[in-house]
Symmetry: C2
Subunit: 228 residues, 2 copies
DNA sequence: CATGAGCTATATGTATACATGAGCGACTGA
DNA sequence: TCAGTCGCTCATGTATACATATAGCTCATG
């Protein structure tokens, strides 16, 4: 069961020795977002400490931080569990993210540089190719890059940070609903429509289309969840 | 220098013995929001532990959590400081909050119940009276209640939580700029205009007016900051 | 006099130890 | 057989102890 965190093997080529508590936090964040740790699962401090080859102290700090992010729930003296989310709450989160994305697109339309616009088109093309190839994982990554590029194009760093944070909390759900090939194709088409509005400098239209795009994804997810 | 946290004397009539780390977190949150701890101020763990009559452990947990909220910056192995925000970042935060409030008002317009609408009008009247009386502190409180009532009227709990959290991070700045009597009067008038649009069920207009309202506040703040 | 290397003091990061309340099972009584 | 209480166990909450990197000082050198 021991799989102490291998340092830097993944991508952190920088030799910077990350704080133990941060590495634990990152690891848990990933596992929750990826759905490996299911909502409601109990997170025993000592157990996690053993798993990460650390003491309880950094584990506790990581858990406390995750609680602020909303990824876990802490019941004082009763332990920590992965945040259990009702379908209603998930839909609320989707609506919120949809609105945030919509407002990001509106601002981005008016503020983005030509280079940023070019980058978006590039990403859109890449996504289309990945979709045609049926490479869902590649599409996932490109899609994330696409949305982040939009956040950054608002030229409001704070807003972009908030948007990225919110988006991350939906990762665990988003992946499931994109398995449907037709949903993936529609997603591409919707991106295209958003870009068209951006090209015309029509922020309001782009915004409305983005909202619809996100809500479509939410509806697809709900349908998927109900099917089970 | 000792002022260990008196428990429950303030409002927590419930005899629930809050976790030490939570009480420290709340206390620090308040002090930062109130501007008692100035941006850039170093937060020494041992010092805080002494001040609160606790050990470093709960203090550390509190600081870690505040870092996630963005209220403090942690430089690994180099200590914790109250988040130092550039004027640019403050303006970005204001813009973000303005946009969030705007979208809340839009949703709220379409979704609020008659009772919620009535409550808003009530709060508006109270605020007007407080403004006439020149009671800035009372106005502060009523104003916060007004905005929170709007968040809740979106009937999207998640969104409301996010909005409240964001708003809280601007508290330290907001208070300074409302000292100007005329700004306070204009604020009341702007609230009235927003309510008028809500009454007509015109979410878009209400939204635009709210955005303008928040940005006016931001401009007033910037002017205030530049004056010093 | 300025600059930089080296040392020391100290605060942070982590581990371990102790205190306390929650959860659970056994036992008693009906 | 079942309900209720008692007491035990263990995880959490807090305190303390130890390891280590950073910051500031001293002192030597250009």
């Amino acid at each position: 069961m021991v799989d102490a965190i291998e340092d830097g093997a993944s991508e952190d080529t920088e030799g910077e020795p990350l704080l133990l508590s941060e590495r634990i936090r990152n690891a848990l964040t990933d596992e929750i977002a990826a759905g490996e740790l299911l909502p409601g699962a109990a997170l025993d401090e000592q157990q996690l400490a053993n798993r990460f080859g650390a003491s309880r102290t950094p584990v506790r700090e990581a858990l406390r931080q995750l609680a602020v992010s909303g990824l876990v729930d802490i019941r004082p003296r009763r332990g920590v569990v992965v945040a259990r989310m009702t379908p209603e709450r998930v839909m609320e989160m989707f609506e919120t993210v949809a609105e945030i994305e919509a407002l990001c697109v509106r601002l981005a339309t008016y503020r983005m540089t030509p280079a940023e616009r070019g980058r978006l088109l590039e990403l859109h093309d890449e996504a289309s190719r990945a979709a045609e190839a049926g490479d869902v994982d590649a599409y996932d990554g490109i899609n994330a890059a696409f949305h982040e590029a939009l956040y950054n194009a608002t030229h409001n760093e704070f807003l972009a940070e908030q948007a990225i944070g919110l988006r991350g909390r939906l990762n665990g759900f988003r992946r499931t609903q994109l398995r449907h090939k037709d949903r993936l194709d529609r997603s591409i088409a919707e991106h295209g429509a958003i870009l068209a509005a951006i090209a015309e400098g029509d922020g309001d239209t782009a915004s409305r289309r983005m909202r619809a795009h996100m809500l479509n994804a939410a509806i697809a997810l709900r349908r998927y969840l109900e099917d089970r």
